[in-house]
């Protein structure tokens, strides 16, 4: 029998909805509307003068070769961070899930990095990789390898990718571990009895059964790489050398907060909004179809 909650008062349901609607309006719709308004205006820093300029800000941003380059770097950066952090976390989770001595200690240690603020983590990486004061940076230079991320695009990108991925591995690890523990042992045992090797068991049983977790993490990691790596990049390279580690979100900050160019910054935010909406739609439409929910 279907049970329905019945309200005597017609207004009550709306009243109960008010807090949620208010939060959405104030914290999501209002700023987004502001961004759209600012993206079609040219303003001075103090907001004393604003003129409507149609889509000039978008035109300026999209025809700027540096912006397109930043877009390319962002794609590389996001792909690298997502693959690296998912791959490393899966490997570690599979290893930690096996029956080994001190598994609890390993698991605890692997979760620790997640508790660090991105900026603090970045400073720790700097103490490792700085060519003058970093432990590893100095060692590399002493060994004759010219390590200086301040003047080498590739090295700088590798470093921010490593730092950003490392930060996310713990998070992914927790979810993968939980996912692995949810896989019925009986299925794996049956496969073992049938003579399936460890790698075959992984690819034909574990990996497909983990796919809901993997899919969820894929979405979360892409969003993380897009939006939450700002602190890491800010503390490590400031987007340099040149613009080698400048991502879209870093550029939004740079143009809006440092350069006081609110029009360009807002236009970029709007573009970013469109990209994220598109990405999410693609993920749910196409990738999710391949996901195996048990």
């Amino acid at each position: 029998m279907q049970r329905r909650v019945i309200f005597d008062n017609k207004a009550l349901p709306y009243l109960l909805l008010v807090p949620q609607v208010a939060v959405t309006l104030i914290f999501f719709i209002w700023p987004a509307a502001q961004a759209i308004w600012q993206s079609v205006h040219l303003q001075d820093a103090f907001g004393l003068r604003a003129q409507f300029v149609w889509f000039e800000n978008f035109e300026a941003v999209l025809t700027d070769p540096n912006y397109l380059d930043t877009l390319r770097i962002t794609v590389i950066f996001c792909a690298a961070v997502t693959l690296l952090s998912l791959g490393a976390a899966l490997l570690l989770a599979v290893l930690a899930d096996s029956k080994i001595k001190g598994a609890g200690a390993y698991k605890t240690l692997l979760i620790w990095p997640y508790a660090l603020a991105p900026a603090v983590a970045a400073v720790l990486w700097m103490f490792i990789f700085n060519p003058e004061i970093g432990v590893l940076g100095r060692a590399l230079n002493n060994l004759g390898y010219a390590w200086d991320y301040r003047l080498n695009d590739t090295q700088a990108l590798v470093m921010v990718v490593l730092a950003a991925s490392w930060k996310q591995v713990s998070y992914n690890f927790i979810f993968f571990l939980a996912g692995l523990q949810a896989i019925p042992r009986s299925v794996l045992e049956a496969a073992s009895i049938d003579g399936a090797s460890a790698s075959r068991r992984f690819w034909t049983i574990i990996f497909p059964l983990l796919s809901p977790t993997t899919f969820f993490l894929l979405v979360v990691n892409i969003v993380y790489a897009f939006f939450e790596t700002f602190g890491t990049i800010h503390a490590l390279t400031h987007g340099g050398p040149g613009k080698a580690t400048e991502t879209l979100i870093f550029r939004v900050y740079q143009d809006g907060v440092v350069n006081h160019d609110l029009g360009a910054s807002s236009a970029q935010s709007v573009i970013l909004m469109v990209i994220v909406i598109g990405l999410t739609a693609i993920q749910f439409r196409f990738v999710e179809r391949k996901v195996h929910y048990s």
Partner: protein
């Protein structure tokens, strides 16, 4: 029943209470909110100076608060202004000057504040290079200079000794500097030389020292339509020299802004061109004999170098819809105190910033500060050694922080061999001019 009499009594009683409350209010101090961008230990020292003012009188209470580094303080002040809630006084770094001037009604110029409130103020008492930076085109003070610095050379005397160089003097010219870094390298110094604030030291100061324009329109003082001039052969040749030296390991690019600062006191690099404000840190941390000297120059471009330009920050008066004349008077009293020679001299001697007033400089001399601290007068000497020209007054370019970043980015690409010196500076000029044009458009009319 309310009679006419009780009404009269209660009205009188009300008037009396209101009168007492009013009197009490009048005795209260006028509060001035002051936002600054100096981290510790300098921030604490600044707050001590403010405390000195608060203790010196009983009418005004200035509340200093730290709002993050300079760009963050600027951002906070702008956001507060937009919300109709700007602080009375904000400390703004020198490269934000053009932005503040373009703010028009958001800012009350200091000369106007002082004349409106009938407060004595000696604008002529400021060192010309300092006054010029914060003056309008017709020479009127727009902000109150306080903590100013300039860039100089610091060198490691022990390393000079080891390399067979004369430790009593630093190389005065670039050719001598190049010879010195070669000898230092040969003597086994891994990093003979580096520089902080790449744009400030290698372009802005270079232009001033050699009387070459950084931008048209008298470096932007003449109007918003200025264009960058740093792809001039003189700047290109200088950048090419730096690139060659970097390639040979004779000079090291150590990152943006002041990232190079720690390398000198740590003994890593033997020579550094950095803010004069680095002095305090070197005194504290360096475990070797060191000296200070003026920046080197190119003898082929100029017979003797001009004055350098300043950095650091100044105090700006911000407006707000609810500001009262009494509050402006309080700000004027505060500024009058801050511009006293003895306050200036003490700040200079405590921190390593340059004295901003001529009398403050004299007071520090009188106090025997320079005998006890050899080389501490180098920044002030370098700032005052010639009369200012339109190329040595400073820069008045909109969004200068962004332009500084652009130049740093293009330099980094050039140092990696991705482009030539000419390409780097052509790109910097092109991108910088776009920034200037946007600023011009956004601030016109």
């Amino acid at each position: 029943m309310l009679t006419r009499r009780t009404l009269a009594v209660s009205t009188a009683a009300f008037a009396l209470t209101a009168g007492i409350a009013g009197a009490a209010f009048a005795q209260q101090k006028t509060v001035v909110e002051f936002w600054h961008g100096l981290p510790q230990p300098l921030g604490g020292q600044l707050e001590q100076v403010v405390k000195g003012f608060n203790d010196s009188q009983d009418k005004v209470q200035v509340n200093p608060s730290f709002k993050g580094n300079y760009p963050e303080t600027m951002q906070a002040a702008i956001a507060a202004f937009r919300a109709g809630n700007a602080p009375h006084v904000v400390q703004m770094f020198e490269v934000g000057t053009a932005t503040m001037l373009a703010a028009g009604p958001a800012v009350k110029p200091v000369h106007q504040l002082m004349s409106e409130t009938n407060t004595a103020f000696d604008a002529e008492g400021y060192i010309p290079a300092v006054r010029g930076y914060y003056s309008s085109k017709d020479g009127k003070m727009m902000a109150l200079p306080f903590n100013s610095s300039t860039t100089i050379t610091f060198y490691n005397k022990d390393a000079f000794q080891k390399a067979g160089l004369d430790p009593s003097k630093a190389p005065a010219t670039w050719p001598e500097t190049i010879e010195a870094v070669r000898k230092l390298k040969a003597a086994g110094v891994a990093c003979p030389m580096t520089f902080s604030w790449p744009t400030w030291t290698q372009f802005e100061q270079l232009g001033a020292l050699h009387n070459k324009p950084f931008a048209t329109q008298a470096n932007g003082f003449g109007g918003l339509n200025a264009e960058l001039k740093i792809n001039d052969p003189f700047f290109v040749k200088h950048l090419q020299t730096l690139m060659d030296l970097q390639k040979d390991g004779l000079i090291r690019y150590s990152g943006r802004d002041n990232a190079a600062d720690p390398l000198f006191p740590a003994g890593e690099c033997a020579i550094i061109q950095a803010s004069s404000g680095l002095r305090a840190r070197i005194v504290k941390e360096a475990k070797f004999a060191w000296g200070a000297a003026p920046l080197p120059y190119w003898p082929e471009a100029v017979d003797s170098p001009k004055n350098s330009i300043i950095g650091g920050a100044a105090f700006w008066v911000m407006t707000s819809p609810k500001r009262t004349p009494a509050e402006y008077k309080a700000v004027a009293d505060f500024f009058a105190y801050m511009s006293k020679p003895e306050v200036d001299a003490k700040w200079h001697m405590d921190t390593g910033y340059v004295p901003v007033t001529l009398k403050g400089f004299e007071a520090a001399k009188q106090a025997g500060f320079y005998e006890k601290n050899p080389g501490a007068d180098v920044p002030a000497q370098q700032l005052t050694r010639t009369a200012t020209t339109e190329n040595t007054m400073g820069l008045r370019l909109g969004n200068l922080p962004e332009i500084r970043n652009i130049i740093q980015e293009e330099m980094e690409k050039a140092f990696q061999g991705q482009q030539t010196a000419q390409q780097a500076l052509d790109n910097a000029v092109k991108r910088g001019n776009t920034v200037l044009r946007n600023f011009e458009r956004a601030n016109k009319g």
